[in-house]
Subunit: 272 residues, 2 copies
DNA sequence: ACCTGAACACCGTTCAAGT
DNA sequence: ACCTGAACACCGTTCAAGT
């Protein structure tokens, strides 16, 4: 705080990449993805566009930095056993805070950290997809992969399957969290009277009105979807994957994880 | 085809919503997400912006329509046993075409249909995330849900768990397919000399150069990531979830799928 | 080194006017 | 009913100029 008694510096803090990213996240949270513009940003930071471009290369980089900042905070919450304070509010299914009781709980904790981050920052869902598919050599992918992978290491999975198992978990978490962002984001977009319960009602009703010939299954589960609890559902999915991991790796030790070869020999091998 | 012999109509086809969506998909495929602009569209369709706005409300609706069109084609390939022609090129793991040999193969076929669609249309990854999280009451969500759900129904899963199990599969597929879009999309963005093998090499190398203190796990699996086959990996994840479904639903008949209540201290009995 | 702010090219969208 | 195309408001980005 008072480390630098350099010059006067009593006015507002100097501009910095950190402050810009922070403002970007706030703008995304309050005004949505379309709310993040350089004009809104310059106004909020009381500066000009040129000043921002001095610290970040362009909007894509700014978006990447905002995503990275939020993801970093999210995985820090989930992973460490002795995290300073749980940003992840609310008690999870016994996996929210403290020392994980089992390796499985470790996975659940990290997954919930990401899940909650997306609920709090709905723009993360889209942004994560964009970031991960655009450049996996960026910082976001390794961060998520590492936080889940460290939990996987605690499971009794042979090292040769680490990559496959971790990837499967990461994919599930991102897919699930992405789709579930709907509850906070679109609840905000819906008329104020309608909250979560009403929202689920609306979707459930819409599903039941689908064409019986084309959508027999979706109509059949419309009721289940109305009553479901997102977090519960999310964790049930995690547990399904965990059960699959356990089942797969309790087999005979010579047949772990994957089959040897593919039936048809006609597959083009991409590596020439 | 020749149903309408109305008027002369020998010139170029009249503008229609269908033709507009088709042009949008082509533009997205060839020029990427940033390549889809109303100016590029008007040029391609030899018309003015007003003409397009007569058929579609705005760009969001156009994007949604493009996504829906591609998804519809993708699930049509995967689901039907006697599909006219498999748009999904290449042989899968015995689940590519023909009548599914098992309920599990049915799931794999539909999943691969979506996977391949995203590989062919990299913009689908981001767009799917945007569409699904923005409005799940749209047409895209039910379509995907239905196609996978119908396969789930063929598994020996009790009806009370249909929604949970289907959701888990859908989430995995979307998450995995989204991240794997990287191989076609960014390969296109990379210098022409570098293709898939070189791309994996680059990422693998980048992973190995990460900070050992912060990224021990990611560094440890860098080699596995270099050698991996996307489709194989995708199917292994599917199999993990399928194994979890089987394991979970082969328990005592009174404890299928989900626990009754959540307790603060209680941990799940997903089991050691 | 860091910031200002006018200017530019481009975008989605509108709308009076045509047929 | 369907289409034209000029016009508008707004956006990301640049850059000569300041300190």
């Amino acid at each position: 705080m008072a480390t630098r008694t350099h010059r006067s510096q009593r006015r507002t803090d100097a501009l910095s990449r950190e402050r810009i990213v922070e403002a970007a996240v706030e703008l995304l949270d309050t005004a949505g993805e379309s709310g993040l513009t350089f004009r809104a940003l310059t106004e909020r930071l009381a500066t000009g566009p040129g000043a921002i471009y001095w610290h970040v290369a362009n909007k894509d980089e700014l978006l990447a930095a905002a995503t990275d900042a939020v993801v970093t905070a999210a995985v820090a919450v989930g992973s460490a056993a002795g995290a300073p304070r749980s940003e992840s509010a609310g008690a999870g299914a016994g996996a929210g805070a403290g020392t994980p009781a089992s390796p499985q709980d470790g996975v659940r904790a990290v997954a919930l950290g990401l899940f909650d981050a997306i609920v709090r920052h709905p723009w993360l869902a889209t942004q994560l997809a964009a970031q991960l598919s655009r450049n996996p050599w960026g910082t976001v992918t390794p961060r998520i992969f590492e936080s889940i992978g460290q939990q996987v290491r605690a499971l009794d999975v042979p090292e040769s399957s680490w990559f496959t198992v971790t990837s499967a978990l990461v994919h599930y978490v991102l897919g699930a969290a992405g789709q579930n962002a709907v509850n906070s984001s679109s609840a905000r977009a819906l008329p104020p009277g309608v909250d979560r319960a009403g929202f689920l009602d609306t979707v459930s009703t819409a599903w039941r009105e689908l064409d019986p010939d084309d959508y027999p299954f979706t109509r059949a589960v419309a009721d289940q979807m109305r009553g479901h609890d997102d977090r519960r559902q999310f964790l049930d999915g995690i547990d399904l994957v965990l059960a699959g991991i356990t089942a797969t790796h309790h087999r005979r030790p010579d047949d772990v994880g994957a089959q040897e070869d593919v039936q048809e020999d006609a597959q083009e091998d991409v590596q020439e």
